[in-house]
């Protein structure tokens, strides 16, 4: 029992922090307090270190009768999730301080609950736990999206997310029911064998897989289930958007990696990978083309996050195509690497968005104009994130793409690799536009000087992300090796 609880640490620690936070806020009488910020950051940091420690020590295993599989992939994803949570909390401080319309003491507590759900999703090995994880992750996010109660956009975002999210959950549950019907088991790891043992069943398992995937696609914002993304990302408070874009994606892709063998048996490797490939292509192009004309930085990053989900789906398609081959290992590590790199560069970019916002909701891309002369360091850091998102070497973004696309090549999906590369070219247009605004376009004549302030927490977060993005890009050997070793082991 103790062993089980210890393994569930990445899930339980943030939950504990959430409870403590609620208690603290009760004592503080609903006033804003520094205490809850620090406690929340500490909670995320402890969860991060805990997951990292277990990962380094190789303490993995099944917990709670096999319903949780805390393997290395799950721990790595927990690390990414808690890292995102920590950075999002660091970004939140100046964001919340600058605006008066968020009077919600439970803000920090909700972030921790969501992080707990995400860690659970990454480790879930049972359909019931999957559902628990999904809901534990989503419900706090619905609230967080709408937490600026007096802002119409924020409430709209929350409502939209809630309604569509409820739909997605229904699909997910439907899929689970069908899969249970087709296999008689709720254990994810047992599903493929059971489905195969019970033989053909008129497409029951295939139908179940598709329904299940619709639910997951909604969470990762894959086309055609991406419609909510731009509105929700735009309306939510920026640090919440950053958290949503990175950690949700990590958790959902963790689930997808665990679910890949079920796709391969339920639909057949051919059909499953073709479907994933089509979705991946659509997602990459819709995301990149949609981002081209955006004037709002958060919306632009929303479309960009759709595109990045597409790149990662390329890796999933490759894994499903060669079910059980060597590629399951390289593919999983590629996606996990991508998730880590993406988390660092995206959180950094949102951090810069928080600085530009300065409590007045200034989210237009034009706010980037002349940033180079006003805040050279901030502009340089943003340039690093932008180039990383665009996939230009020597940044982590390039290596992530290199890694994922090489999986497509290994699975002999050459056309998919070429299309993915073309989609990245489209992406260059809008990423370069951001740089162009920062460096090549001065601000309008007579524009008032802006008070762009960064508090030290935000500065630390952005700087750490930038270092990580460059470090993973220039010296990726240890990390790639580590991911390969752990994901494989």
């Amino acid at each position: 029992m103790f062993q089980d609880i210890a393994l569930a640490g990445p899930i339980l620690l943030p939950a504990l922090a959430a409870l403590l936070l609620l208690g603290v806020e009760l004592l503080a009488g609903g006033r804003r307090s520094q205490g809850s910020f620090l406690l929340c950051a500490l909670g995320a940091l402890v969860a991060l270190l805990y997951s990292g420690f277990f990962l380094a020590k190789g303490r993995t295993g099944l917990a709670f009768h096999g319903t949780l599989n805390v393997d290395n992939t799950a721990l790595l994803i927990s690390v990414i999730v808690h890292f995102s949570a920590l950075l999002a909390v660091l970004l939140s401080r100046s964001y919340l301080a600058a605006r008066r319309d968020v009077d919600a003491p439970e803000y920090h507590s909700l972030i921790m609950v969501a992080a707990s759900g995400m860690a659970m999703l990454a480790a879930a090995n049972d359909l019931v736990n999957v559902f628990l994880g999904v809901e534990l992750m989503s419900i706090p996010l619905y609230v967080l999206a709408a937490i600026q109660r007096k802002s119409v956009r924020s409430v709209e975002a929350g409502l939209k997310y809630l309604l569509l999210g409820a739909f997605a959950s229904a699909f997910l549950l439907f899929g689970m029911g069908l899969l249970y019907g087709a296999s008689g088991s709720t254990l994810l790891s047992a599903l493929p064998a059971e489905i195969a043992r019970l033989g053909t069943d008129g497409g029951l398992a295939a139908f179940g897989v598709v329904m299940f995937l619709i639910g997951v696609f909604f969470k990762v914002a894959a086309v055609p289930f991406h419609m909510w993304t731009p509105d929700v990302y735009e309306g939510s408070p920026t640090p919440v958007t950053a958290f949503m874009a990175t950690a949700t994606k990590a958790a959902a892709f963790g689930l997808l990696l665990r679910f890949a063998p079920v796709i391969a048996t339920g639909m057949g490797p051919e059909a499953g990978s073709s479907m994933l490939a089509v979705i991946a292509v659509l997602t990459m192009f819709v995301g990149n083309l949609g981002a081209l004309r955006q004037q709002n930085l958060k919306r632009l990053l929303a479309y960009s996050s759709i595109a990045h989900a597409g790149y990662m789906l390329v890796g999933v398609a490759a894994i499903v195509a060669e079910d059980g081959g060597e590629i399951a290992l390289t593919g999983s590590s590629a996606i996990v690497f991508y998730l880590g790199a993406y988390a660092a560069m995206n959180l950094g970019a949102f951090g810069v968005a928080v600085v530009l916002d300065r409590g007045q909701g200034k989210e237009g891309v034009n706010e980037l104009k002349g940033l180079c002369s006003e805040r050279p360091l901030l502009a340089a850091v943003m340039a690093v994130f932008t180039l990383a998102l665009a996939g230009v070497p020597p940044t982590a973004g390039f290596l992530g793409k290199f890694y994922v696309f090489s999986c497509a090549v290994q699975a002999r999906m050459y056309a998919l690799a070429v299309v993915a590369v073309l989609a990245s070219v489209v992406g260059l247009f809008y990423y370069l536009r951001l740089i162009l605004l920062m460096y090549f376009t001065p601000r309008e004549e007579g524009a008032e000087p802006r008070m762009l302030r960064t508090d030290s927490f935000l500065a630390v977060a952005s700087f750490a992300s930038a270092v990580l993005v460059l470090w993973l890009g220039v010296l990726p050997g240890w990390f790639v090796g580590f991911v390969e070793k752990t994901v494989g082991g």
Binding site: F402, Y414, L432, L436, F440, P476, G477, V480
Partner: protein
Amino acid sequence: MGALDLNSFGILSLITFLPLLGALVVAFLPRENPKVLRAAALLFGLANLGLSLLIVNAAGTMVFVERLNWIPAFGVCYGMAVDGISMPLVILSCLVVPIIVATTFHVGSGLKEYLVLLLIMETGMVGVFCATDIILFYVFFELTLVPLYFLIGMFGGVNRIYAAFKFFLFTAFGSLPMLVAILFLLYQHHQTTGFWSASIADLRSLQLDAATQNWVFAGFALAFAIKVPLWPLHTWLPDAHVQAPTGGSIVLAAIMLKLGTYGFLRIAMPLAPQAAHTFATPVLVLAAISVIYGAYLAWAQDDLKKLVACSSVSHMGFVMVGLFALEPLAVRGAMLQMLNHGVSTGALFFLVGCAYERRHKRGLDDYGGLVKVSPALGIALVITSLSSIGLPGLNGFVGELLILLGAFKTQPVFAILCASGVLLGAIYMLQMVRRVCYGTPNCEEAARLSDMSVAEKFAFAPLVILMFWIGLAPGFLLERIGPAVDSILAALGNT
């Protein structure tokens, strides 16, 4: 190998990353004092040039080999080495940077950024010529793109944003199919040998069938043809050149375009030898069109910078003809001509920049009588134009002669077409010289241009020396280029 054993201390890494250190140093110097900034950049540039001269004896085989694991999971190494092909290009890269520092006197408030970008650029340029690992090559190849994009976009002319954007997109569009080709090769190597390797030498030993080779070659060729640039992919070049600041134009002409031809010689041809033969004729057709079309374009220009930019298209087409004649003499000539073009066209952009700073106009008819008005600038322009035309005794002649001699053996038709390009080159260059350097000044301002400053003279002198030295004693370079070229051609299946 020289008398010193330099293998042990990573001279190539030093040459590659010293400029990056310089960029960091410059970035932390106070922006208020341009003299200090310029002096620091110049110091790093000259130190690096001095270091680069230590590799001057590289010839037939890869020397100064460095090899470290980089991404072991994919067999990707940090591998550096030089031979007779990369050595001159490395030195040219190191030479160009201090020269450009001398053109920065007109750069105003952004001088610090300018110098930082320039030094980062040097790291990319040197790295790309030293890399023996294909991923490392790719990384440096892309790394050169980013600083130049910023240089053009931040310091360029009126249309700089459009030009920078076009430049980045064209080249990035080309390099991504290359990435797929690289991924494919890595995977093939893994399939056939069972282990991952990204070393170019290892990948060369792959025995791919003809159809596969064609695809691989096509992937690389697109990237390199855009960089060269080969007609009809050249349209980004005039825009980029005209809008770029003088330093950007010099780097672009002297080094960046060579990445294309170097890539063909070092990567595309050896990795897909059969496809190099298959594709020879189509590439030659495009190259011949580039030679002639580029020359006509140059002839039609009234803008000095555009004229030089279009002449680049023509000259680089000439280099491509030399490469794809697949004949030892022609390839030697192509290699030499790459350097010649770097020196001559770099020098032309330098002089056009000098003239522009004084006159603030670039039209051919905005000058006149330059030789009388400012003798040093005028005479320098005359010499450089003659070197670009290929006057015997100057550098251009040797390269063009070798290319034509070689090409006549294997591809007589294309050789004849190219020879007409030489003729056209003489026409547009000489009419430029006539209108700009001779006659009488066209207006008051043109008659009162100041002459080259001491700094400019010092910066320009090495280029003139190189023009005469390569022209009169090409043996030194050819001795080193020759064996390296032969070893590549041997792998292509003809000697």
